[in-house]
């Protein structure tokens, strides 16, 4: 499967060239076949699944297990973990899949903003406490979550800069990104 993308500021070629002129060669800068096929889509799906397992299902399973086994009230709504984790994972996979296209910048911006919002909600409950009979345990993971704010912040900047670049130079990116 391939998508045909045309990036060119030159006027469209006349539908019927003059008889005595040679046919215009198709330049690489004007027309490219984007490799959105095969491995990139598969990679996006795999990334979505892995990201969902890591940031959606794993915390959901840990919370529900602790609640069922030890009666620990979940600090964050398990449904939110599952739903928001799925959205963040799908956006991460979409971002990977759309990397060679102009859609990457806006998708990356949305993905980063959603990721930051997800982490922001998690940061509202940065302590996990477990009490079991006469034993109690608490771990504060706020600082780790704060560290994980760094990649989406940088990713947000990358998305904005790339989107601006694509807007300002609509014909340039094709040669580099769609070899």
């Amino acid at each position: 499967m391939s998508a045909r993308v045309v990036y060119s500021r030159s006027p469209p070629a006349p539908s019927s060239p003059p008889v005595d002129s040679p046919p215009a060669p198709a330049t690489e800068a004007a027309t490219h076949r984007v490799r959105l096929t095969g491995w990139r889509i598969a990679g996006g799906v795999i990334l979505t699944a892995l990201a969902f397992l890591a940031i959606g299902y794993a915390p959901y399973a840990a919370e529900t297990y602790a609640a069922a086994q030890f009666g620990v009230p979940p600090p964050i709504n398990p449904g939110f973990l599952l739903g928001a984790g799925a959205i963040v994972a799908v956006l991460a996979g979409a971002s990977f899949t759309a990397k060679p296209t102009r859609a990457w910048g806006p998708i990356r911006i949305v993905s980063s903003v959603v990721s930051l919002a997800y982490l922001g909600v998690l940061l509202r409950s940065p302590v996990y406490s477990l009490s079991l009979h006469s034993f109690s345990f608490s771990v504060t993971y706020g600082r780790i979550l704060e560290l994980f704010l760094i990649p989406p912040i940088i990713g947000l900047v990358a998305g904005i800069v790339t989107t601006i670049g694509d807007y300002r130079h609509p014909s340039e990116r094709a040669r580099i990104m769609f070899p």
Binding site: I144, I150, P151
Partner: protein
């Protein structure tokens, strides 16, 4: 064709974001692996630590220090490790019997450091006297706080209780028929009974006692050597009381002296 500066900048940020994410994931995995190693090290150390115990009397407080080694088997440091413990008498509800504190210490990865836990017991307080002659249920609360890898503050709490066996359980003085002893005194046979409920501990020391009249006059004083195995014990002797003292209605006060430390017992009125 050379890409535009905006595009190259965007590509650099994209690469930086990916590298940051990979580095963070690797760091997180290493923290978890290291934390598991620390946990395994603590489990293998439990019950096999060589503890140094020292006790000294400072004023009316008995200060007991326990020193034990802690090994950090992980590769990140444990920072600000603090250990605190509080002992309470759940029978009398007299509040805190003693507070013990240790640390803070920092243990680098792969290193062993000693943590000294210092406990202060107030011997002159009502709880100290009560525990000398009464059994009780002692509650203990233990707290441990530390920051792992300079990133993850961890807190552990543990509640437990111990049955306290009083070494001079139901301490009682009884006087026999007094007889004139000259020098303005009367000699009275005294019988001291108690049960040593301290498990496996033979009580060795001296029982110092004084008979005090209601007006505050010290009518007599005597010391009795104590060598009391666990179980019921009876001590006997003679006490010389000022003839001007009424004896009956006087109060016996005193303390149990062992290893240079005096443990006062509650005053007892002679019937």
């Amino acid at each position: 064709m050379k890409p535009s500066g905006t595009y190259r900048l965007g590509r650099a940020f994209r690469l930086l974001a990916s590298l940051a994410l990979v580095a963070l994931i690797l760091f997180l995995v290493s923290v978890v692996v290291s934390a598991v190693q620390v946990g395994q090290g603590v489990q293998s150390q439990t019950g096999r630590t060589h503890t140094a115990v020292a006790a000294q009397l400072v004023g009316t407080n008995l200060e007991v220090s326990l020193t034990f080694p802690i090994t950090n088997r992980g590769f990140y440091e444990i920072e600000g490790l603090r250990l605190a413990s509080q002992f309470t008498d759940t029978t009398l509800q007299t509040g805190s019997l003693a507070v013990a504190q240790g640390g803070p210490i920092t243990i680098p990865g792969g290193a062993t450091k000693n943590l000294t836990l210092m406990a202060k017991f107030n011997l002159s307080g009502p709880a100290g006297s009560y525990l000398l002659v009464n059994d009780a249920l002692i509650g203990e609360k233990l707290w441990l706080n530390a920051t792992y890898a300079n990133l993850v503050p961890v807190g552990v709490g543990y509640d437990s209780s111990y049955q306290w066996g009083a070494p001079l359980y139901h301490l009682a003085f009884s006087l026999g028929v007094p007889s004139l002893a000259g020098n303005g005194t009367v000699a009275a046979p005294v019988t001291i009974t108690f049960e040593n409920h301290a498990q496996g501990l033979t009580l060795v020391g001296t029982l110092r006692s004084a008979v005090v009249a209601p007006n505050g006059t010290v009518c007599a004083s005597a010391s009795f050597p104590v060598l009391a195995p666990p179980g019921p014990n009876t001590l006997g002797g003679t006490i010389y009381v000022l003839a001007s003292c009424p004896i009956h209605g006087d109060t016996v006060v005193g303390s149990f002296l062992t290893a240079g430390i005096a443990f006062p017992f509650p005053p007892e009125t002679i019937p």
